[in-house]
C-alpha cells in the first residue's frame, strides 16, 4: 500500500521515536508489561504503514457492497438505511410478550426478536415434569398454535421482520409462524424473518440439545430447502458465534468456529438436497457477539465478511455476489455485564454497540443493564433501545461507511484475526470437518481453556472489570426488576390442556403419524410439521416423534 520511499521515512521516524520512547520509559515505566486485547491478542505500542505494507487496497479492503465486502455488504450501508433495532424479548405468557412487542414497536423498534423459555427451547411442553419451575422464566412459553396466535395478535406480519431464537424445535415454531400468516391471509412471499436453527453451535456451546448431530443437520437442511422454495424472504438459519463467545471463547475462536459451522451447513445442503449453491446461499445469515474490546471486535466483523466472501466464492464456487456477502445480526455481550454496580452496564453496552456499528452490522440487540439479575424491565429495555438510537442519530458514526478502514491498527488487527481464524479452519478441515471436530471435543476444549484463561486474568487483575476487581465499593445498588408471575405455570398448563381437549384429536394423531412415517424416508419434513401444527399438535408431541425415531441426544463430550 505504500511506496518504498514512504516506508523508508516510516523507519527513519520510527528510530527517532524509539529513542524518545526509551528515555521516557526510563523515567516512567509503562502501566503494564504486556498489553493485549480481551481475547489476549498482544497489542503493540504503535502501528505504522509497516504493519500493513502487504495489504492491498483493492484485494483486501476495497469498497462496500463489492467483493470481498470487508467494508460492508451494501454499497450505501447506513446512509441508505440504519441497521435494524431488534430487541430480543420474550417473557411470561404469549400475551405478556405480545404486550412488550407492541411497546417496543411504539418506541421505534424496527424488528421483532423472540426469546422463548427453556422448555420451549428444548422441545418440552409446559406440563412436562422436566419443565417444572421454568415456565415463562427466561422467555415466552409456547406449546401450541393457540399460544402463537396470541403472541402475534395485531402484529403486522407483512410489515415487520421477526427473528426467533430457537434451535432444535425450529421447524415447529417456524411452522407456527407460517400457519398464522396463512390464517391471516398473508402470503409466505410477504413475510420475512429469521430462525436461528443452528445446531452445531449448540453442541459446541449453548447445549440446547435434542437430537444427535446427523438428524439435527437433516432437519436444518429441510428448512433451508423449504425456505428456498416457498418462503423466499426468510433466513432459515442464523449461523451463530454469539453463544460460542458467551461460552467463553476468544474473538478468533468465535469467528473461526462460526465460519466452520457455516461451511458444514452449506456442504450438507449441497450434498443432501443437490441445490445450486446460489439458490440458497444469499439467505444464509449470521449472528455475532460484540464484546468489550472495541478494536478487536471491529476487526473481527471486517475479517468475518472478507473470509466468508472468499469461502463462498472460492471454496463453494458461488457466482452470485449475494452468495458471497455475509449479513449478520449482533448482540452485545451478555457475559461482559456484571451484577456489581449494574448501572455501569449501560456504558459497557454502549461501547459494544458502537463497535458493532463500526463493524457494519445489519441489525443489533443491545442488552439491558439488569440482565445479570433478571429479564429486562421496561425501564431498562428502553434505555438499551435508546442507546442504539443515540448512536444512529446523534454522534455521527453512521455518516460515512467503514470509518475505521485505513487505520494501521485496525487493518493490521483485521489481518491478524483473519490469519488466526484460517489456522483453526484448516485444522478443523484436517479433522474431517466440524462434525468430526465436535465429536472429538476440539472446539469445546479450546473454548473451555480460553474461558478459564480469561477468568484467571481477571482474578489476577491483568484484565480489569470495574466494580469487580477495581473501584469496587462493596455497596449494592439494584435497579427495580421484572417479576414473572408465579401463577403463570398453572395458567399455561391449563391453556395447553384446554387446547388438547378441544382439538380434533384424530386429526392431530394422524398428522403425527404422518410425520413419523416421513422421518423414515428422505422426504422434506416441513410440510408434515405444518400439518401437525395446524392440527394443534403440541410442540412436545412433535418433538417426541423425532426423539423417538432418531434417539435423544445426551451431551457426549464434556471438557472441564
Amino acid at each position: 500500500m505504500f511506496t518504498q520511499r514512504t516506508l523508508g521515512q516510516v523507519r527513519k521516524g520510527g528510530n527517532e521515536w524509539e529513542r524518545e520512547l526509551e528515555r521516557s520509559v526510563e523515567q516512567k515505566p509503562e502501566r503494564m508489561e504486556r498489553f493485549s486485547t480481551v481475547s489476549d491478542v498482544e497489542v503493540k505500542r504503535i502501528y505504522t504503514p509497516e504493519d500493513v505494507k502487504d495489504t492491498d487496497f483493492a484485494r483486501d479492503i476495497g469498497y462496500p457492497g463489492i467483493f470481498p465486502f470487508t467494508r460492508g455488504c451494501q454499497p450505501s450501508m447506513y446512509r441508505g438505511r440504519e441497521w435494524t433495532f431488534r430487541m430480543f424479548s420474550g417473557m411470561g405468557s404469549a400475551a405478556d410478550t405480545n404486550k412488550r412487542w407492541h411497546l417496543l414497536l411504539g418506541q421505534g423498534e424496527t424488528g421483532l426478536s423472540t426469546a422463548f423459555d427453556f422448555p420451549t427451547l428444548m422441545g418440552y411442553d409446559s406440563d412436562c415434569p422436566r419443565a417444572r419451575g421454568e415456565c415463562g422464566k427466561c422467555g415466552v412459553a409456547i406449546d401450541t398454535l393457540t399460544d402463537f396466535e396470541i403472541l402475534t395478535d395485531s402484529i403486522p406480519l407483512d410489515g415487520v421482520t421477526t427473528s426467533m431464537t430457537i434451535n432444535p424445535p425450529a421447524p415447529v415454531l417456524w411452522a407456527m409462524y407460517l400457519a398464522v400468516a396463512e390464517k391471516n391471509g398473508i402470503g409466505w412471499d410477504k413475510i420475512g424473518g429469521t430462525i436461528q436453527n443452528d445446531m452445531l453451535k449448540e453442541f459446541i456451546a449453548q447445549k440446547t440439545l435434542m437430537l444427535p448431530p446427523k438428524p439435527s443437520i437433516r432437519l436444518i437442511s429441510d428448512t433451508v430447502e423449504f425456505g428456498t422454495k416457498y418462503v423466499p424472504r426468510w433466513n432459515t438459519i442464523s449461523i451463530s458465534g454469539y453463544h460460542i463467545r458467551e461460552a467463553g471463547s476468544s474473538a478468533v475462536q468465535e469467528l473461526a468456529f462460526t465460519l466452520a459451522d457455516g461451511i458444514a451447513y452449506v456442504q450438507d445442503v449441497l450434498e443432501r438436497k443437490k441445490l445450486d449453491v446460489d439458490s440458497f446461499a444469499p439467505r444464509l445469515s449470521f449472528f455475532f457477539n460484540s464484546h468489550l474490546d472495541f478494536f478487536e471486535e471491529i476487526a473481527k466483523f471486517r475479517a468475518a465478511r472478507r473470509m466468508w466472501a472468499k469461502i463462498m466464492r472460492y471454496r463453494f464456487k458461488a457466482e452470485d455476489p449475494r452468495s458471497w456477502w455475509m449479513r449478520f445480526h449482533t448482540q452485545t455481550a451478555g457475559c461482559s455485564l456484571v451484577a456489581q454496580q449494574p448501572y455501569n452496564n449501560v456504558i459497557r453496552t454502549t461501547a459494544e454497540a458502537l463497535a458493532a456499528v463500526m463493524g457494519g452490522t445489519q441489525s443489533l440487540h443491545t442488552n439491558s443493564l439488569d440482565e445479570t439479575l433478571a429479564l429486562p424491565s421496561e425501564f431498562a429495555v428502553t434505555i438499551a433501545l435508546r442507546t442504539q438510537q443515540i448512536i444512529a442519530d446523534e454522534i455521527g458514526v453512521a455518516n460515512t461507511i467503514d470509518p475505521m478502514a485505513g487505520s494501521y491498527f485496525v487493518e493490521s488487527l483485521t489481518n491478524e484475526i483473519e490469519e488466526r481464524a484460517w489456522e483453526y479452519i484448516n485444522r478443523i478441515d484436517d479433522m474431517g470437518g466440524m462434525l468430526a471436530a465436535i465429536e472429538m471435543g476440539f472446539p469445546q476444549r479450546e473454548i473451555a481453556d480460553a474461558a478459564y484463561h480469561y477468568q484467571q486474568q481477571i482474578e489476577g487483575g491483568e484484565k480489569v472489570v470495574i466494580g469487580v476487581n477495581k473501584y469496587s465499593t462493596g455497596e449494592q445498588v439494584y435497579p427495580p426488576l421484572l417479576q414473572i408471575s408465579e401463577g403463570l405455570e398453572e395458567e399455561q398448563i391449563a391453556r395447553t390442556m384446554e387446547v388438547k381437549r378441544t382439538r380434533d384429536n384424530r386429526k392431530a394423531i394422524q398428522s403425527l403419524n404422518a410425520l413419523r412415517a416421513a422421518c423414515k424416508t428422505d422426504k422434506n419434513m416441513m410440510p408434515y410439521v405444518l400439518e401437525a401444527v395446524k392440527a394443534y399438535a403440541t410442540e412436545q408431541e412433535i418433538c417426541d416423534v423425532w426423539r423417538d425415531v432418531f434417539g435423544e441426544y445426551r451431551e457426549s463430550s464434556v471438557h472441564l
Partner: protein, 317 residues
C-alpha cells in the same frame, strides 16, 4: 448403630461415608472394615481400563443398563487422576452415567488417585470390599491409562476389560505396557469408526504370538458401539462365560487366593511403612538409629531388625 452395620443393610449414606473414611484412612475405619470383611467375596468385579476417551465410562453406562435388566444391583468405582499441582481433582466420569443416578440399584462413586502410589490399589480394594458388603451383585471399576497402578487395580477384578479404539494407534502402546497379560476381554469400542478391521487383525496376531496355548481362557476380542448400545449383549455374554470358565476350571479358587495374597502384601507394605514413619515422628528412636547408622555404629540390616522387633513387641500396627 455403627457404620458397618448400616452398610450391611445397604444404607447409601453410611456406605458413602465409610468409603470416605477408608479412603482418607481415618482412625476407626479399619475396625469397620474388619466387621465387613466376612461379608465380602460375593460380588463379581469387572475392571475396565484403556486410553483416555476410549469410551470406558460410556461402556459402563450401557453395562449398568444391561445388568439392571437382569435385576442385578451394580456398584461403580470411577477413578480419575488428581492434579499433581494442587492435589485437587475434577471427577467427571459419572456424567455419562447420570441417567442411572436415581436408580437405587446403582451406586456410583468417583475416586481421585490423590497422592497414592502403590496405595491406590489398596484403597481401591477396600472400596470394592465395601460395595461388595453393601450387597452389590456386580462392581464395575474404571481406571484410566495403563500404568502399573492400573495393572495392580485390575488384579482385583475377576474379569478385566481393555477398551481400545480404532484408528488412533494408541492401542499398540497399550499392549506394550503389559496389559496383554491381564486382559480377559478386549473391547474394540467405537466400532462405528474407520479402521476396526486393522485393529482386530493386528490384535489377533499379537495374541497368537503371546498367549500360552494351554490357557483355559483365551482372551476374546469384541466390537462395541457404546454410544449406540451395540454389541453389549455379546459383551455381557462373554463376561458371563469368563466368570463361568473361572469357576469351572477351578481357577476361581486359585484366583481368590492370589488376590488375598496380594492384598495381604499390600496391607503389610503400607502399614509397615506407615508405622515406621510414625515411629520416626513420635519418638526419636528411629532418629537415634539413623545417627548410629551414620556413624557406622550399626549396619542397616541390624537396624531394620531392631525396628521390626520393636513393632512386634507392640503387637499391632
Amino acid at each position: 448403630m455403627g457404620l458397618a452395620k448400616r452398610v450391611l443393610q445397604g444404607d447409601v449414606r453410611a456406605t458413602a461415608r465409610l468409603l470416605r473414611e477408608v479412603e482418607e484412612e481415618l482412625p476407626g475405619a479399619i475396625d469397620e472394615l474388619k466387621v465387613l470383611y466376612p461379608h465380602t467375596g460375593k460380588a463379581h468385579v469387572v475392571g475396565i481400563t484403556g486410553a483416555p476417551g476410549s469410551g470406558k465410562s460410556t461402556l459402563i453406562d450401557v453395562l449398568i443398563d444391561a445388568y439392571r435388566k437382569e435385576n442385578k444391583t451394580v456398584g461403580v468405582i470411577a477413578i480419575d487422576p488428581s492434579s499433581p499441582f494442587s492435589g485437587g481433582a475434577i471427577l467427571g466420569d459419572r456424567i455419562r452415567m447420570q441417567r442411572h443416578a436415581t436408580d437405587e440399584g446403582v451406586f456410583i462413586r468417583s475416586l481421585a488417585t490423590r497422592g497414592w502410589h502403590g496405595g491406590l490399589s489398596k484403597a481401591a480394594a477396600n472400596v470394592i470390599h465395601i460395595m461388595d458388603a453393601m450387597g452389590r451383585d456386580v462392581i464395575l471399576v474404571e481406571t484410566v491409562g495403563v500404568g502399573q497402578a492400573e495393572v495392580d487395580i485390575m488384579n482385583f477384578a475377576h474379569t478385566s476389560l481393555v477398551a481400545l479404539v480404532p484408528g488412533t494407534g494408541d492401542w499398540v502402546q497399550t499392549l506394550k505396557a503389559g496389559i496383554l497379560e491381564i486382559a480377559d476381554i478386549f473391547v474394540i469400542n467405537k466400532a462405528d469408526k474407520q479402521g476396526v478391521n486393522e485393529v482386530e487383525v493386528e490384535l489377533q496376531a499379537m495374541l497368537q504370538m503371546g498367549a500360552p496355548s494351554a490357557a483355559a481362557w483365551k482372551p476374546r476380542i469384541l466390537l462395541t458401539e457404546a454410544i449406540n448400545n451395540k454389541g453389549i449383549d455379546d459383551l455381557m455374554e462373554v463376561i458371563r462365560q469368563h466368570r463361568e470358565s473361572l469357576i469351572a476350571s477351578g481357577r476361581y479358587e486359585a484366583y481368590l487366593r492370589e488376590r488375598s495374597r496380594l492384598e495381604l502384601v499390600e496391607v503389610l507394605k503400607s502399614s509397615l511403612m506407615d508405622r515406621v514413619s510414625r515411629m520416626a515422628t513420635e519418638d526419636d528412636y528411629v532418629e537415634k538409629l539413623i545417627d548410629d547408622l551414620a556413624s557406622r555404629r550399626v549396619d542397616p540390616y541390624s537396624a531394620a531388625s531392631d525396628v521390626l522387633k520393636r513393632i512386634v513387641q507392640e503387637g499391632k500396627f
